[in-house]
């Protein structure tokens, strides 16, 4: 967390994850028949991957 940009990116990522996991976007995914679980797992996987990139990037330290 030394590089200031890293902290900002982390906050942005948290905001992104929250947005993806909550209703307005969720309702769109829900319109597809049985598509909600698929959407959730995809979104979940993507934010975890982004988090991994952010956390394991040692350049900023």
């Amino acid at each position: 967390m030394n590089a200031p940009r890293r902290k900002e990116r982390l906050v942005a990522l948290i905001a992104l994850a929250t947005t993806l996991f909550t209703p307005p976007l969720l309702l769109i995914a829900d319109r597809l028949e049985g598509g909600l679980p698929l959407y959730l797992f995809l979104a979940w996987g993507i934010v975890i991957a982004m988090m991994a990139c952010l956390m394991e990037d040692r350049r900023g330290e």
């Binding site: 049985g34 909600l36 679980p37 979940w44 934010v47 991994a52």
Partner: protein, 916 residues
């Protein structure tokens, strides 16, 4: 179906393996080769979050509530994403303050409050015992199923006596395990390395077991996910189950559950234990921040397929046990046992960590404060209390597990797995506001936190716990529908008439509203004690690099007393560790504040912050808090602001100085230019008379036949020009002398009236020639001043001459006026010219300065530009002033010379004065 003995052997064999792993972990730690010093082990230990509830209950919840089960894992995902910000801060604080549990954390944050710690411990005990019961229930159910499985048959767990109940024995074995590996050290803030190693191992086992069932279901029972979901699509009821409409409460219920899971993850005592207390390195949080969410994703990957497969038929009626019944219905051997072990590991992992966390809270926050009040305790001998505390903790472990078992045996059957879990979640979620707000808002105080938490838990009890009892048949359930005493707006599931919400979101809304509302509201309108303020500052500023952790206490005590205290409560070895850095000299010396702080930390690690404070207070005398230190801590942030302010001030000052320098530079340049001009002008002035002298001298040399009259005229010119030349040189010399302060003046008592008349006579002729009318007015008959008569006459002539120059060129008039003014005399010389601008007036007295000529056709300046500067210098030397103002009688400017009146003294002294 299966041999009970084999199953039991496998189960207890697995528990034995845990003992081996934990013992190995502890031995490695003693050898200094820790096995838990890895971020991956840390992330796996956090996975203690996934209990039997996840293992069996997720499938059950997916079958009933569709994708809603994922919320229990999405909430923690968000919480872990915040880990590098929030959990890191908590870990930093826990390390500094030797925090032992979440109750200790909240108690320490709010002024090391004993009461608040006890409240948190009580809520945790009430809220999480059912959760332990749930684990036991899962073990009992799964074991019964494994042994007595009959397809399509209903599951009965009607064991009559507890000794026939396997889960009772499991609870006992776990109690032994936890006592062995959880209470090795008195210091609860130290890591339980063996235990963490065992927990990490259990996380791997349950993940492997669940993945095995998932892969078996999708790829053996069906031909891959495509096949499974084709069959699901053919059943509209199942497709419906996968959409948001099957989630209780719809979109609103979704958000409520997400918030609940987020808060509960941070508030669960066992999560606090593994996340904060057992953390060995802050940097591990970065790995865990993504690895733990990944673990959650993977363990949930097959939940929906298993639930769908179970619902498609052939695996019994109870969705909570699909994980076990699916492979059993298929008739495979081995896999159900693996599943059972997976469930067992999920359940035992949770019970181990939860029980350690709870027993620490019970001993440090509930029992210790009571013990410290008893007088008998203070007289006990060395080290006995250390053993007593460990004893309390061991009894607490046994008690908590038995309490869990009783709960399970008495009312466990009434609830489904999910219900118990969520009710528990809603209880511990009440800790999180005090925890998070206390971490970032310094103003939150003890009273607000205590009232908020109490109100929150009361609302929780009314809206979730008591209705739960009613539904299990313990109470008359009428009040659910009609409200207590027929008061409709108090109905537990529709408080204040809020209907149509799912019960968890409903309860969460009201309890959080009461909790946060009181926490913030009361904090805003009540005062915090100095200790509370200091602790608040230490917690909120924990990540501040300049935060000084030195002791806030300034009391006095003897080293001997401190040593005796530590001996009594922690034992001799621990006391020696604290005193290790200090020379073992006599105990009659007073202890340093650093030593007192170390002692308090050691006590806090064993007994909790609140009890440590009480004990230290019992031996430390003198005033309590060091107010300077508190103010320093409180000012860490305001200091930064102050620095900024000062920096701004400095930069403004610099800008101002820069501006001044620029102006000074401009003036220097102007002076330089004036000097250059003057030098050029002086050269010109000197050359003009020289040129004419030379020209006339050459005429006289070359023309011997010149008439006598013309010769005399030429010689006259030569003499006059020579005089002018020497006058000019004299002026330049005067100026140089004035500047260096070496102008020879011979001050003597003189009459300014006489002198002025003399000067007027001297200049009368030249003025007449220039057609200038000179009038004079003397208001006094005599004006005695001290001055050099020659120089003063020169000054007066100069003034009149200058006034003549400034006067109107067509009808020039100059008037002279001498009058007494206070303790001196003023000689004012006015002209009828155009006057001089205010801005120009001072510059007239600058050397080399020439006023712009009214008559522009004349290129030559009408003087050397030295007369007025020299005059001012002389007057100043004589103690007077010379300036310009508007003429009062004429239209132009007025040159005013003021000289002080000569002191009235005996006449014969005047002569000697003049000689000085």
């Amino acid at each position: 179906m299966r041999d009970d003995v084999v199953v039991l052997a496998i189960a207890f064999g697995y528990l034995a393996l845990l003992f081996v792993i934990a013992a190995w972990g502890d031995r490695r730690a003693e050898q200094g080769r820790s096995v838990i010093g890895s971020p991956t082990v840390y992330a796996l230990s956090i996975a203690v979050y996934c209990t039997a509830w996840t293992f069996y209950g997720s499938v059950g919840r997916a079958a009933e509530a569709g994708p809603g089960f994922l919320l229990i894992y999405l909430g923690p995902t968000l919480a872990m994403f915040m880990g590098p910000l929030v959990i890191r801060k908590m870990v930093r604080i826990a390390a500094t303050h030797r925090i032992t549990s979440i109750a200790d954390f909240i108690s320490a944050r709010y002024g090391k409050s004993t009461g608040l710690g006890a409240l948190v411990a009580l809520i945790a005990l009430i809220g999480t015992t059912p959760y332990i019961a749930l684990q036991l229930k899962a073990i009992t159910l799964s074991h019964a199923m494994l042994v007595d499985y009959a397809p399509e048959g209903s599951m009965a767990t009607a064991e009559t006596s507890f000794w026939a109940d396997r889960s009772f024995w499991v609870a006992l074995v776990l109690a032994v395990f936890i006592i062995l590996f959880g209470t090795r050290h008195l210091d609860a803030s130290e890591r339980h390395e063996g235990m963490v190693a065992a927990i990490a191992f259990e996380s791997l086992v349950k993940l492997a077991a669940f993945l095995a069932v998932g892969i078996f279901t999708v790829f053996v029972l069906y031909q891959g996910p495509a096949d499974l979901f084709r069959q699901v699509a053919a059943t509209p009821a199942l497709t419906e189950a996968l959409s948001l409409s099957s989630v209780p409460g719809g979109a609103l219920g979704w958000v409520g559950m997400l918030v609940l899971a987020f808060l509960a993850f941070l508030g669960l005592p066992r999560q606090f234990q593994v996340l904060v207390v057992e953390n060995v390195d802050e940097r591990h949080i970065q790995r865990a921040a993504w690895l733990f969410p990944l673990y959650l994703l993977v363990i949930n990957l097959f939940v929906i397929p298993i639930a769908m497969a179970g619902l498609l038929g052939g695996a019994g009626e109870d969705p909570d046990s699909f994980v076990l019944t699916l492979p059993m219905a298929a008739g495979v051997d081995g896999l159900p046992v693996l599943v059972f072990i997976g469930g067992l590991s999920a359940a035992t992992g949770m019970m181990i960590v939860e029980t350690i966390a709870l027993s620490t809270m019970v001993s440090n926050q509930l029992v210790m404060p009571l013990l410290l009040r008893s007088r008998r305790l203070h007289r006990s001998h060395s080290g006995s209390l250390a053993n007593r505390v460990l004893g309390i903790r061991r009894i607490a472990i046994l008690g908590i597990l038995l309490l869990g078992y009783s709960y399970h045996a008495l009312i466990g059957d009434a609830y489904s797995l999910v219900t118990i879990g969520l009710v528990s979640f809603a209880a511990v979620a009440q800790f999180t506001p005090a925890l998070l707000i206390g971490l970032y808002w310094r103003g939150a105080n003890r009273l607000g936190a205590g009232l908020g938490m109490s109100a929150g838990i009361l609302v929780w009890a009314w809206t979730l716990l008591i209705p739960g009892f009613a539904q299990s048949g313990w109470l008359n359930a009428d009040f659910l529908a009609q409200g207590p005493f027929g008061i409709a707006w108090l109905r537990p599931y529709a408080l204040f008439g809020l209907e149509g919400w799912d019960i968890y979101t409903h309860s969460l809304l009201w309890s959080l509203l009461a909790n946060i509302g009181l926490l913030v509201g009361v904090s805003l309108f009540s005062r915090a004690s100095p200790l509370e303020q200091a602790q608040a500052a230490l917690f909120t500023e924990a990540l501040h690099p300049r935060l000084d952790q030195s002791s806030l206490w300034r009391g006095h005590t003897l080293r001997g007393e401190l040593r005796a205290l530590l001996d009594r409560y922690l034992g001799t070895t621990a006391a020696q560790r604290v005193f290790a850095d200090h020379a073992p000299d006599d105990d009659d010396q007073s202890a340093s504040t650093a030593l007192v702080a170390r002692a308090e930390q050691a006590l806090a690690g064993a007994l909790g912050n609140a009890s440590a404070r009480v004990l230290i207070d019992s031996v430390v005398r003198g005033e309590a808090l060091d107010l300077d230190s508190i103010l320093r801590i409180l000012d860490t942030t305001s200091e930064t602001l102050e620095m900024n302010r000062r920096l701004e001030q400095k930069s403004r000052e610099l800008a101002r100085i820069g501006q001044e320098l620029r102006e000074a530079n401009a003036r220097l340049r102007e002076l330089d230019r004036l000097k250059d001009e003057f030098v050029a002008m002086v050269s010109h002035e000197l050359r003009t008379p020289l040129t004419s002298i030379r020209a006339f001298a050459e005429i006289l040399r070359d023309n011997h036949e010149l008439p006598q009259q013309r010769r005399e005229h030429f010689l006259d010119v030569v003499v006059r020009e020579s005089q002018r030349l020497s006058r000019l040189i004299e002026e330049i010399l005067d100026l140089a002398r004035l500047e260096s302060g070496r102008l020879p003046l011979e001050p003597q008592r003189l009459d300014l009236v006489t002198l002025t008349r003399q000067a007027m006579e001297a200049i009368h002729r030249p003025l007449e020639k220039r057609g200038i009318a000179l009038t004079s007015c003397f208001e006094v008959d005599s004006a005695e001043v001290i001055g050099d008569p020659d120089r003063l006459e020169q000054v007066i002539i100069n003034l009149i001459d200058n006034a003549g120059k400034f006067a109107d060129p067509h009808a020039p008039r100059v008037s002279l006026h001498l009058a007494q003014h206070r303790q001196g005399f003023r000689l004012a010389v006015s002209d009828n010219g155009t006057g001089i601008d205010e801005a120009e007036r001072e510059r007239v007295f600058e050397k080399f300065h020439q006023l712009p000529h009214a008559d522009t056709t004349r290129s030559r300046p009408r003087g050397s530009g030295l007369g007025l500067p020299i005059s001012r210098g002389i007057v100043a030397h004589l103690g007077g002033r010379l300036w310009i103002e508007d003429a009062s009688d004429l239209s132009g400017a007025c040159l005013v010379m003021e000289l002080p009146e000569a002191p009235h003294e005996v006449d014969d002294l005047s002569g000697s004065n003049a000689d000085d």
